[in-house]
Amino acid sequence: MARPMTITEKILARACAQEEVRAGDFVNARLDLALANDITAPLAIQEFEAAGMTRVWDPEKVVLVCDHFVPNKDIKSAEQAKLVREFARRQGLTNFYDVGRMGIEHVILPEKGLVVPGDVVIGADSHTCTYGALGAFATGVGSTDLAAGMATGEVWLRVPETVRFNYEGEPGRYVTGKDYILYTIGLIGVDGALYQAMEFCGSAIKALSMDGRFTMCNMAIEAGGKNGIVEPDAITEEYCRGRALREPVMMKSDEGAQYERVIDIDVGSIELQVAKPHLPSNSVPASELADLKIDQVVIGSCTNGRIEDLRMAAEVLKGRKVHPDVRAIVFPGSQLVYQQAMREGLVDVFIDAEVAVSTPTCGPCLGGHMGILADGERCVSTTNRNFVGRMGHTGSEVYLAGPYVAAATAIAGTVAVPEEVLA
């Protein structure tokens, strides 16, 4: 009988065919999926080919998504995307997603059932940790690690210590997974979970939707975490039904598993959060920023670009107009999310409210294209980073929030909570 392990340890033990692993062990884990995008794949492909590799280890398990600078924003980006496309064709990759079929990588991989509970996934994108919401181990790596993963189907990992976060209590109206995670990062800091697994537990997580869990795990990296993870349950099973392409392996942390720390959080005391420039840990109650004038609102991204997020935004925007001094842009996370939003009438709500609705892209989140900020401009965004220059000019500012606050802000023209505009 192996000693008690956390869910992260159990997934990694299984992936390296050992009865048990401990935090601090170095393991070679077998991969279920290796992912890259149009910014990270070109470098990975170059490394892969320079090492004399000819075939990827499994053409069904290497996933390439063009989502950052597409639809191609300039000639150089077009060349990068072309390189990725040609490699995908040469290698016969089953899972290559391009304009019209793509979406933001961390929205479409779960949506298409490519990631299932129990998986080990690496992605050359730091927000790969999103898939922990499914009870998988998923972590971001660089292009060379990805190249090695594409070649061997394995990755070396140091088994992380785990910090357990217990979320208990009843959240206030409009308080979402985004508020939980911004509050948590504010509590522990941007390196508060450096190299560690962040295990999100407790009754408030059990009550959280899949989309809310994706949002939380997505931002584990913003606390320095190696992975975020939620134990799979009935909500996970329901999500996987009809979409999982492989048999899910549902794991749970053992009774008596060792944690580096346990942090208890009462969600009833969490107000709607906004993270001020220039770190995601600068979170404060939105109410403290009332009167702060905003030039742009962005709703979408791998953090908050799922259907539930768009429903929240539409709930606030319905029958109202965006403030004349604000440009509001909605980026559905995938073609499916877009279509679903249309079917539900959300796109009409947005357009009637004078919101621009865009094709899925990572564009504005990282200051790529489709919503770059000028010097001195301020944006409230449902994305994940507010570093200096993240969305454009180094003199611009990004305030991170959830869809409710973003939508309310779009209407008010200043940082606002839904109650202020719904009255």
């Binding site: 320079a50 730091s126 660089g142 060379t144």
Partner: protein
């Protein structure tokens, strides 16, 4: 390996967006990336940096995006080594994988001032401050990572293992 150069000192949480802003990620050419290295945190860096110079920073260097273009830009700018109180994990892996020497040395992060002359002995894990005549001891790489560094980077390590049948063929 021994490096000698001038220290460029930064604070904590230097993120990869300021090391190489995303607006320049439409290329992976090291020279082009180097031309914009540290642009959003230190506009004069690229004009000042000399081959062999050393970046010294506080905690959590390289946080944020996984972009390997960040260590690539630093290396191509001529920086010989990055010394920090701690590194964000993806940057740490990327630096090792592409052969940019890094050292975890909280003492140096405290003691070194911008412009100090430093000598770094990577094998011994020593950072000598020539300006202040002090020595700081850094952590040594775990053995597992030394193997990768010795092989000349991750892909060479993988190739070697593949050839010896050590990994999935």
């Amino acid at each position: 390996m021994i490096f000698e150069g001038t220290a460029h000192k930064y604070g904590r949480d230097v993120d990869t967006d300021v090391i190489i802003p995303a607006r320049y990620l439409n290329t992976h050419d090291p020279g082009e990336l180097a031309a914009h290295c540290m642009e959003d945190i230190d506009r004069d860096f690229i004009g000042r940096v000399q081959p062999g110079d050393i970046i010294v920073a506080d905690e959590n260097f390289g946080c944020g995006s996984s972009r390997e273009q960040a260590p690539v830009a630093i290396k191509a700018a001529g920086v010989s080594c990055v010394v920090a109180a701690s590194f964000a994990r993806i940057f740490y892996r990327n630096a090792i994988n592409i052969g940019l020497p890094i050292l975890v040395c909280p003492e140096a992060a405290v003691g070194v001032e911008n412009g100090d002359r430093l000598r770094v002995d990577l094998d011994k894990g020593e950072v000598v401050n020539l300006t202040r005549e002090t020595m700081y001891q850094a952590d040594r790489f775990p053995e597992f990572m030394q193997e990768i560094v010795m092989a000349g980077g991750l892909m060479k390590h993988v190739k070697k293992r593949k050839q010896s049948g050590g990994a999935n063929a």
